[in-house]
Amino acid sequence: MTDLDNPAQDGMPARFRPPHPLSALLFALFLGFFLWSLSSAGISIGELIEGLPNMARIGAEMVPPATDRLEPMLRSVLVTFQMAVVGTVIGLILSLPLAVLAARNHTPHPVVRAAVRGLISFVRTVPDLAWALFFVASVGLGPFAGTLTLIVDTVGFCGRFFAEAIEEVDRGPPEAMNAIGAGPLDVIVCATLPMALPSLINTGLFALEKAVRSSVVLGLVGAGGIGAELATSMEMFRYDQAATIVLMIFVLVMAVETLSSHLRAKLIGGRG
């Protein structure tokens, strides 16, 4: 019987436990690497303080934002959005079969899976700016190079997450379809994809948001869109125009995020 007035002290867990020596060593190594990285990253409080007046001057020049080139800027924003939509949609279409081949539960052979996974990993590991430079050098300046970059970037992003979503679906309905005698394509289309759909929609919409943000940056290296306008404004010290462009980018990104949240809620509740 337990004495509630005199609770037993034996067996009471310690409030704190010393970390495992290996954990402590790893933490110390990380801390040392971080401090070394601080110096390599060029962090300098002095330079930051010296730069503050410049920041204030540029900030002051940004107000009020310029309205003299609104029309070409709006056209560039539209091109940016169109690049993002086309790049994402084509990227999604290409990602889906690759993801099926890369998913453990549907791949025709482990070698195929390893090859496709390797391809997707390679595409994802190379930064989008590097792809943009490659495509600008290959097909020339302009939105086509940007769109190609976004397609490849979307394949790298969605290929991996689609494959994981496909692997995570409940095995029951595909097994039931196999028991019926359905073919592999029927099983994928009728059981696996409908169950993975919420995850696929989520990933697809994130890819669109990511593509909109990327397409802005891609313009800086000549891959078309509003980024090119931003680079020109900054090079000509027209900070008021740059402010207008930044505001336009902000509105575009917010609009796409709001729209994708709304679509996510709508589509995930739908019926097949």
Partner: protein
């Protein structure tokens, strides 16, 4: 044994005409499929010889040298304690799980895992109802039932009810009405109760126009009343349409009520094979000692 007839419902015009005879339960033979060669109407629905299954190369077999034969139209219950491999045995009978040794014949044709086409064809003749209904949750009830038609026809038209041929939609509705759920055809599968889901799974199996139904603990996740309803549905369908029924169950009462014969697994072997008329609850319980 009765034949399947199209139902007469207000506002529902079967493609086959008023009270027209629907296609037979038994699927048409595919002359190109090797599996059909050598099959005869007298062949047992299921014949298993020397079946052995182990998980992992060095582990003890779940069961070994299991042999039995189920004549066409017979209702058979498979019973046994937890971990005796009842569900594994049923899945092995369709090669959903690959056995390590032994032969399986369905309706007189050897079920060989090497030819995907033959395997799919032989599987299509057996409706399999799982412990968990295994419906595709985001699709409508009618689309789920239509998937059963992939046993005979494949392609995009069988993927969704909105793409399906009229005669397939009609037959799917008829199958749903066989399990008294025609009124829920448009509902999403994940908006059904457990009992309703299981009955939709039965309708999907009927859509195959199967010669046999295998059911793996079909009432395990249902309340007693829903469980009785599902078992009644199975038994009625088997009796009325001459289907062979093989079901796994932990409910000994169900084995005695709905089966004509009981197979019992214990200690890695088939320990009991007897008509239910000879068995009592007490004698079946001894299998669990």
């Amino acid at each position: 044994m009765t034949t399947l007839h199209a139902p007469v419902r207000p506002g529902f015009e079967p493609a086959f005409g008023h009270r027209a005879r629907l296609p037979p339960v038994r699927p048409q033979a595919d002359p190109d499929t090797d599996a059909h060669r050598g099959a005869s109407p007298e062949s047992p629905a299921v014949r298993v010889e020397g079946l052995t299954k182990r998980f992992g190369r060095t582990s003890r077999p779940v069961w070994s040298d299991v042999s039995f034969s189920v004549p066409t139209g017979q209702r058979v219950a498979i019973i046994g304690g937890n971990g005796t491999g009842k569900s594994t045995l049923l899945r092995c009978c369709l090669r959903l799980i690959e056995p390590d040794a032994g032969d399986i014949h369905l309706h007189g044709q050897k079920l060989d895992g090497r030819c995907a086409r033959t395997l799919r064809h032989l599987r299509s003749e057996v409706g399999f109802v799982f412990q968990k209904h295994n419906l595709v949750p985001r699709l409508s009830v009618l689309s789920n039932v239509l998937h059963g038609s992939m046993a005979r026809t494949r392609g995009p038209r069988q993927w969704l009810q909105s793409l399906a041929r009229s005669e397939d939609r009609d037959y799917a509705m008829y199958c749903l009405e066989q399990v008294r759920l025609g009124h829920l055809a448009e509902r999403r599968a994940d908006h059904l109760s457990g009992g309703q889901s299981q009955r939709v799974a039965v309708a999907r199996a009927l859509m195959q126009r199967p010669r046999a139904i295998f059911a793996d603990e079909p009432v395990a996740s249902l309340d007693p009343q829903a469980g009785e309803e599902v078992m009644e549905t199975f038994a009625d369908l088997a009796r009325n349409h001459g289907l062979t029924l093989v079901f796994v169950s932990h409910h000994l009462e169900h084995a005695l009520t709905y089966a004509e014969r009981v197979l019992g697994l214990r200690d890695g072997r088939l320990d009991l094979d007897a008509p239910t008329g000879r068995e009592t609850l007490g004698s079946l319980r001894s299998l669990y000692d």
